[in-house]
């Protein structure tokens, strides 16, 4: 187990370094940071001094090492657009994105799994058919269109919920939360549905497919033959055995949630990291872009690691037989 964790971490390091290299290459070669920082009037001496201060006269690998060292400590320099430290900008906006992603993930799981179990157990009922049709629409509707439709119905026509922003937030240290005020919670509803709907339908279809597969196996028949109640068979035996693929997909989808938060945040003008990123892409604000890239890579690599560890917790078959060369 311990060796496995070490192995996975060692595998993650080259990935992170590769992303850091891309990130650094963007930082160093895209656009001219010196020209941007100096502005219009400068002398040759000022220019040379700045080049030296930034370490741009150093060899490539030294610069890359310095960049990586700074990145590990969370220093990415100043945003070209806002002239403020990138780490500060991202730190301010991270709580908004994380709270949104959390709500969306909880919604997708809390609704998607039961719907998947239901459609798997009662595959011919009209409610199952309705759920399946609904999921097909959910997969084909682009995220931003779902957001626009929800705004049109619930904000413009009915006027029940706000259509943009986070509402009132409460500061807990450096973390600003929208969970503690009524307007903050109300502001979370539409963006969470928008962001979570695709994941919800995906989880539902996956759980359904896995349930159908598992219910056909012999151990389910045996469990029924033993006279176990339906509830124990469905949840104790069937659902538990569908969890491995579900965890994989949910883990990978957590990354997708953060990526699609860019779209949702744009639709709802949600002051999170995604909105910051898209505004930076529009004006080619490279420091913000490369910091965001590294942060997302870190999130993805960590999620993959956690998913791998969860396999062990969920599937006892993986704990034995590994490294013993086949069956």
């Amino acid at each position: 187990m311990f060796a496995f964790i070490i192995n996975r971490i060692l595998q993650a390091i080259p990935v992170m370094l590769a992303v850091a290299l891309i990130s650094f290459a963007m930082f160093a070669y895209v656009g001219d940071p010196v020209a941007i920082m100096l502005g219009q009037d400068f002398t040759e001496a000022q220019r040379d001094a700045l080049v030296h201060d930034l370490g741009l006269d150093q060899p490539f690998w030294v610069q890359f090492a310095t960049f990586t060292g700074h990145a590990i400590r969370g220093e990415f320099g100043l945003s070209y657009r806002l002239s403020r430290p990138v780490a500060e900008l991202i730190g301010e906006r991270a709580p908004a994105t994380l709270e949104l992603a959390f709500c969306a993930a909880v919604l997708a799981l809390a609704v998607g799994v039961p719907m998947g179990v239901y459609t798997g157990l009662y595959r011919n009922s009209w409610l199952s058919r309705f759920f399946l049709t609904f999921s097909l629409v959910g997969v084909s509707l682009p995220t931003f269109l779902i957001g626009i439709l929800l705004i049109l119905v619930f904000a413009v026509w009915l006027g029940w919920l706000p259509s943009f922003g986070r509402g009132d937030t409460v500061q807990l240290g450096w973390w600003s939360t929208g969970f503690l005020t009524w307007s903050g919670i109300k502001a979370l509803i539409l963006p969470s549905i928008t962001l979570g709907l695709f994941q919800l339908t995906l989880i539902m279809r996956l759980v359904r497919a896995e349930m159908l597969e598992v219910l056909r196996t012999d151990y389910i028949k045996f469990a029924r033959a033993r006279g176990l109640p339906n509830r124990a068979v469905h949840f104790g035996h069937a659902l538990k055995n569908t969890l491995v693929p579900v965890i994989t997909i949910v883990g990978l989808q957590l990354g997708a949630i953060i990526a699609f938060a860019i779209v949702t945040e744009t639709v709802f003008q949600w002051p999170g990291m995604g909105l910051l990123f898209i505004q930076s892409v529009g004006v080619a604000d490279i420091p913000v872009m490369s910091a965001y890239l590294l942060l997302i890579a870190l999130v993805f690599v960590s999620i993959n690691l956690i998913v791998d560890l969860l396999y062990y917790a969920v599937d006892p078959r993986l704990r034995i037989g590994r490294g013993k060369g086949g069956h």
Partner: protein, 304 residues
């Protein structure tokens, strides 16, 4: 030719097509979208880019069935008096063009990489597949956004507006090639050890020739399915990029651009400016996806 057509109508692919009403319906919807988009300059009721024919008096006309609508503008007009139906037809043209080109680009790149990795094997295979793995862990929309952002930083603004369409195609294509590479590599690994390949190798056919004219024809089947399913995704990716304002230039609005423009008028009650392009996008993507699903099942002999 006539014999080939007769054989097609006799095939089980055609049979499974006829048998599924959903597939026939989506084929019809897809055909309407494609014809409407391709022939937009000839059949659209107005030319939304002809500034001389635009009249601001016609701005914000609701659809023709609403109280203030006119028969001249079936789906209403936008803030500049452009006919929505025509704008949608021209927009679908851009969306389809970008979607098809990006898919074609991703297919060419992915198939070449997959063939090379699968046939040559060894370190080349290891390196190419690692790149695939790393890229597959990132959502493609993020990759496309990054490519777009980098190009924006490298080239000056005037140049960017001119090449924006190609940048979007490149960005979406580059974000979706790994799927093709994976598929082709898998089938190549199976094919490379078959006797006909060994025979070709024994009589001294060069490697490139074996890959291109012996292995390739035998691995393209699954690629067709991946490409169809990918077309829907590529159209959505383009719409998303354009909605975020980093896609196609405003002078050539796609469906995503139209939705973004319409979004500004949502609160003042002019819902049709954004909803109709949205519906057109959904109809197009849904029908292409359903066709792709059907094709996957129809070409899979195990499911018959």
């Amino acid at each position: 030719m006539a014999a080939a057509i007769a054989r097609f109508f006799d095939s089980d692919v055609w049979w499974s097509f006829k048998r599924s009403p959903v597939t026939v319906a989506s084929a019809i919807v897809a055909a309407i979208c494609i014809i409407g988009a391709a022939l937009a300059p000839f059949i659209a009721p107005h030319n939304p880019f002809d500034l001389a024919s635009l009249n601001l008096i016609d701005a914000f006309k609701p659809p023709s069935w609403a109280e203030e609508g006119t028969a001249e503008y079936l789906l209403g007009t936008d803030d500049q008096g452009r006919d929505m139906l025509s704008a949608i037809m021209y927009g679908a043209r851009v969306s389809l063009l970008v979607g098809l080109s990006a898919t074609l680009f991703a297919t060419l790149l992915g198939v070449s990489v997959g063939l090379l990795a699968g046939y040559v094997g060894g370190a080349v295979d290891g390196l190419l597949m690692r790149i695939c793995d790393v890229q597959l862990t990132f959502p493609s929309i993020l990759v496309a956004l990054l490519v777009d952002g980098v190009v924006r930083a490298v080239v000056p603004r005037e140049v960017h507006d001119q090449i924006a369409l190609f940048v979007v195609i490149f960005a979406i294509g580059i974000s979706e090639w790994p799927k093709f590479a994976r598929t082709v590599r898998g089938s190549t690994l199976v094919e490379r050890n078959k006797e006909y390949v060994q025979a070709a190798r024994v009589i001294g056919v060069p490697k490139l020739r074996i890959m291109a004219s012996h292995v390739l024809p035998n691995v393209v089947g699954p690629v067709l399915v991946v490409a169809t399913l990918n077309l829907g995704l590529a159209i959505l990716a383009e719409a998303t990029l354009s909605f975020l304002g980093v896609g196609v230039p405003p002078t050539q609005p796609s469906l995503g651009t139209l939705i973004r423009i319409g979004n500004d008028f949502l609160f003042s009650g002019e819902w049709w400016i954004t909803i109709f392009p949205g519906l057109a996008l959904v109809a197009m993507v849904l029908s292409v996806n359903l066709l792709g699903d059907w094709l996957r099942d129809a070409l899979n002999p195990k499911l018959r």
